[in-house]
Symmetry: C2
Amino acid sequence: MKLYTYFRSSAAYRVRIALNLKGIAVEMVPVQLVKDGGEQTKPDYLARNPQGLVPALELDDGTVLTQSLAIIEYLEQVRPMPRLVPPDPIMAAKVRAVALAIACDTHPLNNLRVLNYLKGPLGHSQAEVDAWYRYWIVEGGLQAVERLITGDPFCFGAAPTLADVVLVPQVFNARRFDVALDHLPKILAVDAACARLEAFAKAHPTQQADAA
Amino acid sequence: MKLYTYFRSSAAYRVRIALNLKGIAVEMVPVQLVKDGGEQTKPDYLARNPQGLVPALELDDGTVLTQSLAIIEYLEQVRPMPRLVPPDPIMAAKVRAVALAIACDTHPLNNLRVLNYLKGPLGHSQAEVDAWYRYWIVEGGLQAVERLITGDPFCFGAAPTLADVVLVPQVFNARRFDVALDHLPKILAVDAACARLEAFAKAHPTQQADAA
């Protein structure tokens, strides 16, 4: 399998963590999102993923799967252990709700193409764009996530789940933009617990071959 | 069970469709999102859903589930038939990818609180906000969704799936804001096929008790 990835894409980062947790080795294919208008906007890549976003997972038969959470649910079906979504339906819903609070309500507002729209068509300064970025990380999701998780030591108990897989890349983004997280102690504790696991450490943006 | 809903919320609309398709009756509890600063921002509602968003599904034991897609996956586990996510892992990933392309990359950009930020802190006119809204519906997701679905007659074949459940409310939003969809014939055909099903028709915003 091949994972089309970009070191700093938090959606690709999620899939890298999930692959590592499940012990699945794939070929990493870096996609240059920033240089020359972005490789993801070129016909070659759009043929694989019409959304022009990373990640995309290409299976050995050429089938391409897109959307990080759909890819992780696929991995969960074909390689169930260790489980990232608990079997109990209520616990599964709580885990998925945290993942979606970040994947739907936090991260998309700060995607590269959205920041470009704020700077381009809407003419905002870098300072205004940065304020937008910081606002949505906390108000968009992390503040609520702090109340939705137990955090002992992972979001929902003794082992990492899909919630941790999605939370850690968002915390990385928050730190990169100097967002204050001191008022979110459970999230900080979960992030620290995850950082001690090799599956998370190896998926970190700075550990990728395409890290700039 | 109780569904905290708002007639025009497309996330609540998704859950209404899924409940109808599965034949699950729930008590509908309307949440007034727009009047008086929004009932969803008040302590009573925040105690149920710290994100301050609809929908939320309250189970008979008082457990509250949030995030529309997490709620629908829960319903899929406790009431598997008719299936909204196909059992084949690759087909499941394709269905979820379409749902997520809308739920993550289209809808959140046009959420009420985001439009309020554009109007408030960023000082944009209604015309600029409307242009933003229209841009993200098409560029954010529907253009790619048109290429990801088969559309015969539903997104992925003979029966509606999670993809249709999420697509139809987004098409409703597009129409409400006069977004041209003529260049997306498969999406229009799917929407028409869904409209003929009672489960979709009864979930429509205009059919809700709280419709303004």
